[in-house]
């Protein structure tokens, strides 16, 4: 049932919105992981980020693509919680800091064991439009325990203009989605964060819409 809701939600609303009204300049499509378990690490500036990344996948595999999202925000009221759990099928993540490190990722582990592709935003929050915030260590802790799983970095640019934080008016703009090579293994969190930041910086140079912000 959930699978049908999710497919309809993407076929009727999200895909037309993202592909026609918004528009994507896609680079490196062949590097997009098609089979799970896998992790996608993207920069985060807008609620549209996860929707755009999920739209890259065909409807037949869309139920396997699951964004990891903050429980304190997406489960905060009943309507939003229903959409988050049924239409998007998010993996809720507790970012309050009151949960044990082992339990923190139990949802993620479960999804990966199930062969899903997780979408994670290592910055942890949307931040200000078109700026990379400081990358948090969370993804490193998850990656350390699942060294068999590839982490594919994806840089997104331009969505902070289409729908920035705190704005309700949606304005159409093409956005860049640049898919990079999987991240190398890293022994400690500093190296890991350095790798991912470097990868994002390199991918941003391929954006077409990056000159548009001055």
């Amino acid at each position: 049932m959930n699978r049908i809701i999710k497919i309809l939600f993407f076929a009727l609303i999200i895909k037309p919105l993202v592909l026609i009204v918004l528009g994507i300049n896609l680079r490196g499509r062949e590097k997009l992981p098609v089979k799970g378990p896998a992790i996608i690490a993207a920069n985060h500036n807008s609620h549209l980020d996860a929707l755009v990344l999920m739209s890259l996948y065909p409807l037949t595999s869309i139920h396997k693509i699951r964004p990891v999202a903050a429980a304190d925000y997406f489960l905060s009221n009943r309507l939003l919680a229903w959409v988050s759990l049924h239409c998007l099928d998010i993996v809720p993540f507790n970012r309050s800091g009151h949960v044990d490190k082992d339990k923190l990722f139990s949802g993620c582990h479960q999804a990966l064991d199930n062969g899903d592709i997780l979408i994670l935003f290592p910055e942890g929050s949307r931040g200000s439009p078109e700026k990379i915030s400081k990358i948090k260590k969370g993804l490193f802790y998850l990656a350390r325990e699942r060294s068999d799983i590839k982490i594919t970095p994806i840089a997104i640019y331009g969505l902070g203009r289409a729908l920035p934080r705190g704005e309700a008016l949606f304005v159409p703009f093409n956005c860049d989605v640049i898919i990079g090579d999987p991240l190398p293994d890293a022994g400690d969190s500093t190296v890991f964060i350095k790798n991912i930041s470097q990868s994002f910086a390199e991918l941003f140079t391929q954006c077409l819409t990056r000159h548009s912000d001055k």
Partner: protein, 312 residues
């Protein structure tokens, strides 16, 4: 005589274009069979995209006038979006840009009802004055001048210019054998054919660069060769597809050859300024929609007004 609602000359012109596409596809297949080690992916994508573009265009032109006008307004939307996505805009201009998008349905509404006076002044007068008014109400003065300029340039190129293609469909029919579809086919075919001719002449004879800083591949030989070819072609084709007689057809050819060249290099300069190669990735093998519409943005209004002056 008409076939499938299309007047006979326009119908034959469409068949001729489909014939050219078949030749292109066969040539590509022959090439990849002859040189199996060479990569023809881009050529294949390019020709495949042409099939899609032509199929869509012919379908909407055959359907009816309103469908074709709605289709062209959608092209304006895609072009405006692509342009505003690559040029510098301010985050504070989001609401102004929203109004710029709204000018599209309004402009094409004037086209569909055939209100020529409004069609011709709506963007250059009303939208031109209105957008800065909306900007003033937001009140961000840092970068105001540049922003107002960019936005006006954007709607002029992507909405005003492109809507001239649609207005060709609204003009009274003067050549019964071709109908108004013939005008659109003539304009689009001559514009694209001009690009191809300039490319081919440039490849064959090209030596002296015209504007190396903007477009290193453009040569005087390609430009003049293309211009002469198009002028002659237009002279012969114009009486079939348009109300223009041979000598006026030659004039239309000169206009399309010159304007097509400048449309191409003006949009190239925009991309060069922004240090990007393509304006998007909407059309596989071609780049963005602006990479395909660049010449038409210049040829459409200039051909339209030449035709309008000469026959209406």
């Amino acid at each position: 005589m008409t076939f499938l609602n299309i007047p006979q000359n326009s119908f034959y012109a469409m068949l001729a274009v489909l014939g050219l596409l078949v030749i292109a596809s066969c040539t590509r297949l022959f090439l990849s069979a002859k040189n199996p080690n060479k990569d023809y992916t881009e050529l294949r994508q390019r020709i495949q995209s042409w099939w899609w573009i032509i199929a869509l265009l012919f379908l909407v032109l055959a359907a009816n006038r309103i469908t074709a006008i709605v289709f062209l307004s959608f092209l304006s939307f895609l072009a405006l979006k692509e342009f505003l996505s690559i040029v510098p805009t301010r985050l504070t201009d989001r609401r102004v840009i929203f109004w710029a998008y709204l000018s599209i349905p309004v402009q094409y509404y004037w086209v569909s009802m055939g209100w020529y006076g409004m069609f011709i002044i709506f963007i250059p007068v009303y939208v031109f004055l209105f957008l800065p008014m909306r900007m003033v109400l937001i009140g961000d003065t840092a970068g105001f001048i540049r922003s107002a300029g960019v936005l006006h340039w954007a709607v002029m190129l992507m909405v005003f210019s492109i809507s001239h293609i649609a207005y060709l469909l609204t003009l009274p029919v003067k050549n019964v054998d071709a109908g108004n579809v013939g005008l659109v086919l003539f304009l689009l075919f001559m514009t694209q054919f001009n690009d191809v001719c300039q490319y081919i002449w440039g490849k064959m004879l090209g030596k002296h660069k015209i504007i190396p800083k903007v477009s290193p591949n453009k040569t005087w030989e390609g430009f003049i060769g293309g211009l002469l070819t198009i002028t002659l072609c237009a002279g012969f084709v114009a009486p079939l597809l348009t109300p223009l007689a041979f000598e006026y057809g030659l004039g239309a050819g000169v206009i399309i050859g010159l304007a097509g060249f400048f449309g191409d290099v003006v949009l190239s300069s925009v991309k060069r300024d922004l240090q990007i190669k393509d304006s998007g990735s909407l059309i596989p093998g071609h780049g963005g929609i602006l990479d395909r519409l660049d010449s038409v943005i210049y040829t459409a209004p200039l051909f339209f007004h030449f035709l309008y002056y000469a026959t209406y």
